[in-house]
Symmetry: C2
Subunit: 342 residues, 2 copies
């Protein structure tokens, strides 16, 4: 499944002198959110404002080089949209759907893209002619939300992104915290039910959109009625966040029961993280949260506040991302400023 | 239950110029571990070495002022033991069995001592004539173990202390991490069994010495044979760590089953923390760990490594404290250097 690359795994950043010519120009970065389905690029200023944007299909089947060509094309289109030349962009940040080795600038594994050890930093630096930094998609989204969204100013914040899986990112002492193996924030892989069988122990196994769809399908197949059957034309394997949100909004009992239960369980896991880290701010994002919104967030918040220790943490803020789908590209641009503009 | 104090809740630190006269003298701090039963004091140098020590009974019933008098007396005895005058000590650190409000220098609550809002920092500064800082007993022990014990050099570390309860402390980016409400590290209050009834949900409810004793008593009373009955002369409410360690060492089946199970559950909770924070180092301490030692630590380690994500964390180090009972006073002294010697 892995795609071999002929690129050397060396770091590219640092070979371009950022400041020499540009001190008087406005600071602009390119922020790029590379997903399994879409590439989103935006021209970002220091405040995290999006001055121009572009969206292209990822077309993961076309292979690493072709995908990276489209990433570069999206960046150029975003410049056009912003009315600035590519030469006005001094640095770029990239969010990718998988763990990063920051020393080598490679994506260790991106299942959606079928990449292993993909040298994204060098590939994009070559194409755009600017220094590039990369991090996983949830980290960049959480960073964006912290800097330019709901988390502004708080020194410590947990972000939890719920979609196909459950990912997370941590801001600690006003920095994105990576930990010993750059994998910090993996709340989806915390154990929620010790002793349960392997496929139902973790947070992700209980609270992701995948887990919710799986549970719904199981219940529908054992003759529980649900409008999800008609909303998907009986193709239950096609349950996406939008379908879930529609059924939820229209009051489908089965959907509400399953989703409310998942939200409550997610809150319990988040409460453990809040207790361990004494956090006052949690932000929720990702496809499922964006689709269902307030009812989901309300249940998570109630559950977190019920389970935290000590009592002083019961006023913990648990809110939905305000940047929504933009969190990734905004965060990628802001990380590029933070890491590369020195 | 609370003891009113007439002391004002103001901070004392900073009114003494530490460096003016002492630049050429060896740096010495007083480290004090104030427990519900004993007060331990030690003269500590910058490397965390104990140059002299003293131990006195706490006698919590005698009240706040009398206890603080004994804390000061223990400090003076430690100086005598080290062969240095009290005037050679420039700063003191105090570990207390309860949460601290660091701005006010008070112990918010210490159940063992029956204290609420007890102004320990000012009380001890007044008695010793040096600046004092205070933190909870587990934080100071974890800090001591990190600086002068097993954790040396690693930027991020979790310490888990198992005794009457289960406490924890976190080193993040080479600093003791406190979080929004100074309560970080409370791994004992993470939820281990969501949905279980209130007294059996948390890590502490499943893995503390109290929980182990409770489970043993329940089983013995339902006619499971155990040598714990004879070791305690039938006074089962008197099960302490030493009795558990004796029964464990002598191969008592019931004791082994219950303790091994608690160690395994503790490992699952620690694994969730290691996953969330991407940690490569965990240290275990406290009365139960000190008493049982290697077999307990081995089971915790196996459980942590089995449950962590991603795979790269499976080599996480999980070891027993090397400072043992000294971790608290060493850590208290080293925190005093860190916080007050500026």
């Amino acid at each position: 499944m892995s795609e071999e690359s002929t690129h050397e795994h060396t770091e590219y950043t640092g070979s371009i002198d950022l400041k020499s010519d540009h001190d008087k120009q406005p600071k602009l970065a390119m922020g790029i959110d590379l997903g399994g389905t879409n590439i989103q690029a935006g021209v970002i200023n220091e405040h995290g404002e999006v001055l121009g944007r572009a969206k292209l299909k990822t077309d993961a089947d076309s292979g690493f080089d072709a995908v990276m060509d489209r990433v570069a094309a999206a960046a150029r289109s975003a410049c056009e949209d912003a009315g600035v030349p590519m030469s006005a962009i001094h640095t770029a940040g990239l969010g990718v759907p998988g763990p990063i080795d920051p020393d080598k600038g490679v994506v260790v594994e991106a299942v959606n893209l079928r990449w292993n050890d993909a040298p994204v930093v060098m590939a994009l630096s070559d194409r755009l002619g600017v220094p590039v930094c990369a991090d996983n998609d949830v980290n960049v989204a959480v960073y964006g939300e912290w800097r330019a969204g709901i988390g502004n100013e708080t020194p410590n914040m947990l972000g939890v992104w719920v979609g196909t899986g459950v990912g997370g990112g941590l801001i600690i002492n006003s920095k994105l915290y990576k930990g010993a193996h750059h994998s910090a924030g993996e709340i989806g892989h915390m154990i929620l039910y010790p002793g349960a069988h392997l496929g139902s122990r973790s947070v992700e196994h209980n609270c992701s959109r995948t887990a919710i769809a799986h549970e719904l399908i199981k219940l529908i197949r054992s003759n529980h009625p649900s409008m999800v059957t008609s909303l998907t034309d009986g193709k239950l394997h096609k349950i996406k966040s939008k379908v879930l949100a529609m059924a939820y909004e229209q009051g489908d009992d089965l959907t509400r029961t399953v989703i409310d239960d998942a939200a409550d369980r997610l809150g319990i896991a988040i409460a453990s993280a809040v207790t361990l880290l004494s956090l006052d701010t949690v932000v929720l994002g990702g496809g499922l949260v964006d689709a269902i919104g307030k009812p989901f967030v309300d249940i998570v918040r109630d559950s977190v506040r019920r389970e935290v220790f000590p009592e002083s943490l019961r006023n913990v803020s648990v809110e939905a991302s305000v940047l929504g789908d933009d969190a990734g590209l905004v965060g990628a641009g802001l990380i590029a400023f933070e890491e590369l503009w020195k």
